[in-house]
Symmetry: C2
Subunit: 211 residues, 2 copies
């Protein structure tokens, strides 16, 4: 059952790229890097090798917050801190490891095999950005417009003053019923503002989004 590992060129490059720095890349971040050296490599190969290498104990698969798994070449016990904004991950050393041999009465019958400690906060870069522009617009997701949303937004862009939803319905091909739903979505994206109740206007961000 024991599998024998071959050190193929692809595997070598993947390992080398991972060890190059202490970032804790996701599979596809690593894929992008490796692709520069091996343009024909497949994403599946990267996933496969990261899986195999971590199963063999040559690297570690990290279980940190966020949906994507990250990988670490450092096998020694250490903990991580990650940025809730940009999801960057750094190593962190705890000075006293004195913690948590949890009292047996508290173990709930579990056989504990380990403990993961993870700090979170803002990395230096994101801290600065936030200072500059206030907390407000965390322009995270690209927020693509659907056709209907774009139509509504264009109608608002063509108007010089705030519109009610009837005005919008008139200027577009959409049913009055559908307007509210679209406007709400646009408001959530920050592309539309409501200066008065039931009147809407396009925001600068909304204008940008049209281009």
């Amino acid at each position: 059952m024991e599998q024998k590992l071959r050190m193929t060129h692809q595997r070598e490059i993947i390992l080398a790229e991972l060890k190059k720095n202490t970032s804790h890349p996701t599979a596809d971040e690593l894929y992008e890097k490796v692709k520069k050296k091996l343009p024909r490599i497949s994403l599946a190969t990267v996933y496969r090798n990261l899986e195999i290498l971590s199963a063999a104990g040559m690297i570690r698969k990290l279980e940190i917050s966020g949906r994507q798994k990250r990988f670490d070449w450092e096998l020694t016990e250490h903990n991580h801190i990650y940025c809730v904004q940009c999801h960057r991950v750094d190593n962190i050393e705890l000075e006293k490891k004195n913690l948590q041999p949890v009292q047996s009465t508290q173990r709930k019958g579990y056989e504990i095999s380990g403990c993961r400690i993870e700090f979170y906060g803002l990395c230096p870069k994101c801290k600065n950005i936030e200072k500059k522009q206030g907390v407000k617009k965390m322009a995270c997701n690209p927020t693509v417009l659907s056709d209907k949303q774009r139509e509504v937004l264009e109608a608002l862009a063509n108007s010089t003053e705030p519109c009610g939803s009837k005005d919008i319905a008139g200027a577009t091909s959409l049913e009055p019923k559908q307007i509210s739903c679209q406007v709400t979505a646009l408001k959530k994206k920050g592309y539309v503002a409501s200066p008065v109740r039931c009147k809407y206007e396009i925001t600068p961000e909304g204008k940008d989004a049209l281009n």
Copy 2:
């Protein structure tokens, strides 16, 4: 921008089901429970409400290992322990919270806003199961057979003695080249064993899998 929450019937039931016990259900676990009371509820509604309620601070979205997010109605600071086998999650209290005001030199410029501590191991149930049957067959994934795999496995089931891949090729419609690949996959699933090099036979698990 402030959103106002309405306590709809669906939302009420979702909250009630979540608060019923201290399990930390995933969205679809909760969906299954809620469906018993509201058979017409949509999975999307459950996701939407869990998202809204946690954004409003009424419940907490947990960032624990595993790909699915879990939800917790307890807002007080506490930590979790989870089973690496069945992914059950329980609360755990740390007696001394003395740890980790990390030394400023170690913070790498981060503005730390919190820390997550997570134990892992085997829950009582899985501990027992493992004792009974040894560590070996962690029959996790159902390991469905592809058509080709099933064909190979059937061929092996019909033979009384270990086969080489040429024998398998003869007994199936498959090209000799394809056999190795299929056999390897089957071995990984534990359905095929190799008593001698280059000879294969079906395992009891493999026979079970055929039915």
